[in-house]
Structures are given as C-alpha cells and as structure tokens.
C-alpha cells in the first residue's frame, strides 16, 4: 500500500491541503515541513487515525476524540473530511471520508414504516449498546441499572442503599419497558439506514455528537466498482499497514478530552495521583493502538520481543531440522552493527527468561545507561521497531524523527530508514534541513502558510 495523495479541505489548522507523494520517487521518503503550528502533526495523526482505526470498532473512540468539536457548516448536510488516493499493487484506490448530519440520512430511501424523525446517526451507537446488553441476564441488567443510579459512596449503609433501590423500582420498570420498545424499533431502523447507505456505497464508520447534533463518519470510494464490503476490506488491510511514531511530548488529538487536559494539570503528588497523568494515558492508548509508537528513551520491550522471537525461531528450526537456527545470532549481529563499539546482549534471569538488555564494550565491560547517547538509543529503537513491522509495503508516518539526532545523523537517518525497511513509504514531519538534504527538493512537501485575505 502506498499513499499517493491526501486532501484535507478544512480540519482544525489544516486548510486546503492537497499533497502528492509520488510512487515513482526514489527513495520513498517524503519530508513534510511547515512552521510550528502549521499542522504537520495534525495531518499525520488524521491520516493515522482514519486509516488505522476505521476498520476496528474498538478503535472508533479515537476517531471520535480526533473529531471532537468538528461540526458541519450551517445550512449544509455534509463536510468532506479527507480524501485519500492509495495504490495497492497495480490498483489505484480512492477513499473519501465525509461527515454527515441527520438531514442527509433523512433524505435517504428509508422504509416508510419508520418515523423519519427518528432517523439519526445517534441510532447506531444505541443499537450497539442494545445488542451488547441483549446477551446479559436480567439480574445483570438490574444490577447495572442500580449501579448507574445509586451513589457509589462507600459510607452509605446497606439500609440506605436498599431504601434508594425501593425508590427507584418504578423507574427500573419504566427503563425495562423503554428498553423493550427500543429493541423493537432501533435495530430494524438502523438496519434499514445501513441498507440505504450500502445502496449508495457509503460505508458507515462511526458517529459522535457535536453541540448536541449527531454526526456520522462515512467512507466512500470514487472507484465505481467498490461496494461497502470492498471498502471495509480495504480499511482492514490499511489498518495493518499504517503506522505512526512520534515524541511522547506531542499533544495527541486522538486522546480523550480529559487525557489532553491532564497536560495542563498540576500533578497531585501528595495524593499519590501520579498514575493519572498524560504519560500513563498515552501508555494505555499504545496498548489499544498496536501501530502507534512514541519515541521513548529506549524501546526495550520491542528489543526484548525481537530477541525472544529470534530465539523461538531458532528453537523451531531445531525441532523442524535437528539443527539450531541462526536467527538469534543474526539479530544480535545486526544490533551490534548499529551500536558501533558496543555489544547488545539480553539480560537473563535464573530461568533464562529475558528481563532486559545490557550494553557492553568489546572488552566485556558493562556500559551504564547514562553513558549511552539519546540519539544512539533512538536510532536503535527505530531500527527494532521497523524490524517488527509486517513484511511488504507499509505507510510509516514519523513525527519529529530528527529530535535527539545530531545534524550528521539527521542526514543519515533517511538512508537508515530505507535500509531497515526498503518497501515502506515514509512520511516524516520535520523541521530539519539536514534531513531534507539527503533527498531531492522535489521530495519535500510543505504545508504552506496561508495568505492573509485583506
């Protein structure tokens, strides 16, 4: 998969963006420049979130976070969010991600047995909630209802809780009645809307609320022969092949509002609330977005995983052939080649489980972590991360890759990327002139500052 072109008419700071990443360019590395606040990071995050998250419902919250407060202009019923041109093998694919409001849905050919006023993008999340609750027992539903309505204050006595439950009993019955009614109407109506969207070759992705209005994100392909099923298949493939790496200090628009606000909150050390900070939220997100990496001090977990993988491969080779494989030796040799004059070795516990990494000089003397340069560790981290990417063409988005690298290394990192993942396409948001010099001027893309209208 190769990203040929991205167009973003209007999203946050991004205005009239239209950038082409030529497939015929060699190497496939494109620096992306702009002033600070020019939208480089926003663009990379938007590409990543739309292409990595759309196919997986459990990642849709990140799309909704990203689109928070993005509404549809007054008097319109849609707004084009982004248009992508991609190439998969020999096939050119065009995808349009567009936001729609309920007015658009109400113009669709919906079964007349349904009340048009009920037609809304808000039905889709309701339907999901209903369907997931359908599998629950009556006792579980009752418990959930009371848990939602009764204060969880631990100081409440059992008697007080019982009194509150009695008071809420009639409400619970009303809730059950409402729920049963919803079962009869919402899933069939949502189904009818889906069918109409399918006929228009509009693939529903997710919906969210903006200023009390329900908004839906739909994906359409300009390729005439692409059905919604095809679009979904493309999005599934894309989700596996689009990657984002960026500094942990970046503000990530796809985090929920509270997490972003934590960046500006004073840490409450006295109450030991270190857990509730931006970094910990980011760590949690990384578990939920497998193709997202932050440039931390050192990607030790990835290095360990890579060595474990090599060790397991060697064991498998021994089982299959009777001779131990050479994967471990190979990966250690590759890592040592990167850390000139230093050897990388796994640290083992008494059961030979890998617990970490140790660096030694060629004479076997252990090197303390503080004696390793940040740039050296970063380069090593990028190397091992790229090694873990799936084979084939990946779209790798990297934000501020030059941080911690000396200008000499900024120039060389382009060659490194090509060497470490030659089939990948790299889009590098950067301020580095030195990095650009490793490529031709035509490789460099820019989010140009907009002229002022007088």
């Amino acid at each position: 998969m190769h990203l040929l072109r991205v167009q973003v008419p209007d999203f946050r700071v991004l205005k009239d963006i239209d950038i082409t990443f030529e497939q015929t360019f060699n190497p496939n590395v494109f620096p992306l420049g702009s002033l600070n606040g020019g939208g480089k990071s926003t663009l990379l995050q938007l590409i990543f979130v739309l292409l990595h998250c759309s196919a997986h419902s459990e990642r849709h919250q990140f799309i909704a976070n990203m689109l928070q407060r993005v509404g549809i202009p007054e008097g319109e019923n849609s707004k084009l969010l982004a248009r992508f041109e991609l190439i998969d093998g020999a096939e050119k694919i065009e995808l349009e991600f567009t936001l729609y409001n309920d007015d658009y849905l109400r113009q669709l050919d919906i079964n007349p047995i349904f009340n048009k006023e009920m037609v809304s993008f808000g039905l889709f999340p309701k339907k999901e909630r209903l369907l997931s609750s359908h599998e629950k027992s009556d006792a579980e539903i009752e418990q959930e209802f009371y848990d939602d309505h009764i204060d969880s204050d631990p100081s409440l006595s059992q008697r007080e809780k019982q009194a509150m439950m009695t008071a809420l009993a009639s409400s619970f019955h009303e809730y059950i009645e409402e729920r049963n009614k919803s079962f009869a109407t919402i899933p069939p109506l949502a189904e009818s809307i889906s069918e109409s969207l399918t006929l228009k070759k509009q693939h529903y992705i997710t919906s969210y609320s903006c200023n009390g209005n329900a908004i839906g994100l739909l994906c359409h392909s300009s390729n005439v022969n692409k059905s919604t099923k095809d679009i979904n298949a493309i999005l599934i493939t894309l989700s596996k092949h689009v990657f984002l790496s960026a500094p942990p200090t970046q503000i990530y628009l796809f985090l929920d509002e509270w997490s972003k606000e934590l960046l500006f909150k004073k840490r409450d050390v006295k109450r030991n609330r270190w857990v509730d900070n931006y970094e910990s939220k980011l760590d949690k997100v990384k578990n939920e977005l497998p193709n997202f990496l932050t440039f931390d001090v050192f990607a030790v977990d990835i290095v360990v995983a890579l060595i474990e993988q090599a060790r397991n491969q060697d064991f498998k080779t021994q089982v299959d052939t009777g001779t131990i494989g050479a994967s471990y030796q190979k990966i250690i040799a590759e890592l040592n080649l990167l850390t000139q004059g230093k050897k990388v070795l796994p640290q083992l516990d008494e059961n030979a489980a890998i617990t970490g990494i140790v660096f030694k000089t060629n004479n076997g003397i252990e090197i303390y972590p503080e004696d390793l340069s940040h740039g050296e560790l970063k380069r090593l981290s990028i190397y091992v991360w790229l090694k873990t990417l799936p084979k084939g063409e990946n779209i790798v988005l990297m934000d501020e890759i030059e941080n911690a690298l000396h200008p000499d290394w900024q120039f060389q990192i382009v060659r490194d990327l090509v060497e470490w993942g030659k089939d990948n396409q790299y889009i590098l948001a950067t301020h580095s002139y030195g990095l650009c010099e490793a490529l031709t001027p035509a490789h460099v893309k820019e989010l140009e500052p907009k002229l002022i209208t007088h």
Partner: protein, 315 residues
C-alpha cells in the same frame, strides 16, 4: 559567471561565520551559490529548482563515516571555488577571532575539465592539470598524494562522468523506473560507443591546445593513436571492439577523462516521461549513484571513495 570581488568577500565571510564549520572538515565545491540564501528549512530546500551539486558529494560520504562528517559549501563555478579557497586561506593567514573555520581542515573539490584553472602562487601546485597528474597515475588515484593536498580534482572530466562509469550498469538495470538512454534501456557500452562516434564533434577537443592536453592525460592507453582527433576516434573504436574486459575499462576511463559527457547525461530519462519529469528522475538517480559510492569498501579504487577515505584522516 564568476563572483565579483565584493561577492567573493561576502561569500567568504558567510563561510567563516557559519557555525557549521566548527570542528568540521569544510569542502568547497561547485554549484549555484545564489540558489539558497534563505534560512535553512525544509521549505527553503523545497524551493530549490534542482538538487544542489554539493548534495551529490554529501551523499557519497562513506556509510561508515558516522561522526564529524564534512560540511560542504557551494561556491559557484570552478574558478570561484579556487578563489574562495585562496581567499579563505588569506583571511586566516593572520590570527583572527571572528571565524569558526579551521584552515587546516579546509578543502576544495573541482572538476578536471579541459580548460586550465590556475592556482594562487602560494600553492605548491600551479594549476588544475598539474594537480591532476599529482593525484592520478594512469587513471588510478593516489591516496597518499590526496593526504598531502587540500584541493582535490576529479580524475574524470566532470562530476557527471562519475554518473556513467561501467560499474554502474547493474544499478541502472535494477533501477525503477527503467533508465532510458536514447529511448531504450541504458546500455553503457552503447553509450561509450556513441561518445566515441561524437568525439570528433567535441568543441573543446577541436582546439589544438586542449586536444594536446587531453592526449597527454590518456597517453598510457597504448591502443590509441594521438595523431589527430579523427585518428583518436578511429583507434578508440577499433581497440574497443577487440579489447579484453580490462582494456575496455581503460579505454572507457580514457574517454570519460577527456570528452564532454554532460550532454549524454542530459539524454538520460525515465522510460515514461509522464510518470516522472526527467529532471526529477535524474536527481533521484544521482542520489542512488552517490549511495553506490558511499557503500564502497575502504580499499576501493574508485576516485570519490578514495578521496573520502583519505579525507577521513582529518576528521
């Protein structure tokens, strides 16, 4: 067009005031000195009309040279490079406290070309031709001699000749989009034959003094007849068709040492012009060629890696 005295002074001041030069090897090279005057940023780089000449050399720096890599400064034409070099040396002949430049680490790289380029009287070598003979013997680079010089001259006529050496044929064969010369996939031996056929139309070689200079450079090729340009052409073609592989190499390098090669490089194009403009295609190909030189072994006999191998002793 050369820099005026004022421009030269300004240019030299820019170099000595540049922090890029601090503790670094500085190499002056040819190229459009006016191309990039703005603040160095991705935006200013993007606005360049073409790949700066220095970037070819920069990309040729061996891959094993990781730290304290040389810094390049574009100075204009060949004479500008030389003028800048000697002006900077002159500016540092007296102690000064406004320069980041270490004059012991100041180098220049120029094209051989056919017209003569004279050096300052203070330099132990009088001109470009003398420098060529001190650095190369029968087409082979002398690394020890490079260590003793601070001006490096190409062993082939122009930098562009290094884009067409025989060892690059596999690179061209594997490159995508397909590299075309005269609308067919490039075959370097066919290019050399065409060069030989057009030798008699080479304006520089038609001039007696330059023809004489050219012949002197390649006199080690016993198969060639240096009587006149026609005889040289005929003898080259006859010798090339019957020569062994090693003699063919000698003849090719001889041709690339004296003949105008820039026109042939201009003819290089992608197999389909509509997929990428020819100029963009060639710039990218140049960087790929530079990568070829950057990956040569320490004991490489190629001229450019030989230059950087020697230079690395100063890092």
């Amino acid at each position: 067009m050369s820099l005026s005295n004022t421009e030269l002074q300004e240019h030299c001041n820019t170099i000595i005031n540049s922090r890029r030069t601090q503790n670094k090897i500085v190499i002056l090279c040819e190229g459009n000195v006016h191309a990039n005057k703005g603040k160095a940023s991705p935006s200013s780089y993007r606005q360049l009309e073409k790949l700066p000449d220095a970037n070819f050399y920069k990309a040729c720096i061996p891959v094993w040279w990781k730290q304290k890599r040389p810094e390049f400064f574009i100075c204009g034409d060949r004479q500008d490079v030389i003028n800048t070099y000697f002006e900077l040396q002159k500016m540092h002949s007296q102690p000064r406290n406004d320069s980041y430049l270490n004059q012991d680490k100041l180098f220049a790289i120029i094209d051989l070309d056919l017209p003569l380029c004279k050096f300052d009287d203070s330099y132990p070598i009088k001109d470009s031709e003398a420098l060529f003979y001190s650095l190369y013997q029968q087409g082979q680079i002398n690394q020890q001699a490079i260590l003793e010089k601070s001006i490096f001259i190409t062993g082939l006529i122009y930098k562009e000749a290094y884009f067409l050496i025989p060892d690059l044929q596999p690179l061209f064969d594997d490159y995508s989009p397909v590299v075309h010369f005269n609308n067919v996939p490039i075959n370097l031996k066919a290019v050399y034959r065409e060069m030989a056929h057009k030798l008699i139309n080479d304006g520089n070689l038609m001039q007696p003094d330059q023809f004489k200079r050219a012949c002197k450079r390649i006199r080690h090729c016993e198969q060639l007849d240096f009587n006149n340009l026609n005889d040289l052409q005929q003898s080259w073609l006859t010798a090339f068709d019957t020569a062994t592989e090693s003699t063919q190499q000698l003849l090719i390098y001889a041709l690339l040492t004296i003949h105008q090669v820039k026109d042939y490089w201009k003819t290089i194009a992608p197999h389909q012009e509509n997929i990428i403009p020819a100029e963009r295609f060639k710039e990218q190909l140049i960087l790929k060629i530079a990568d070829f030189y950057a990956r040569q072994a320490h004991n490489s006999t190629h001229h450019i890696p030989g230059f950087f191998n020697a230079l690395s002793k100063w890092a």
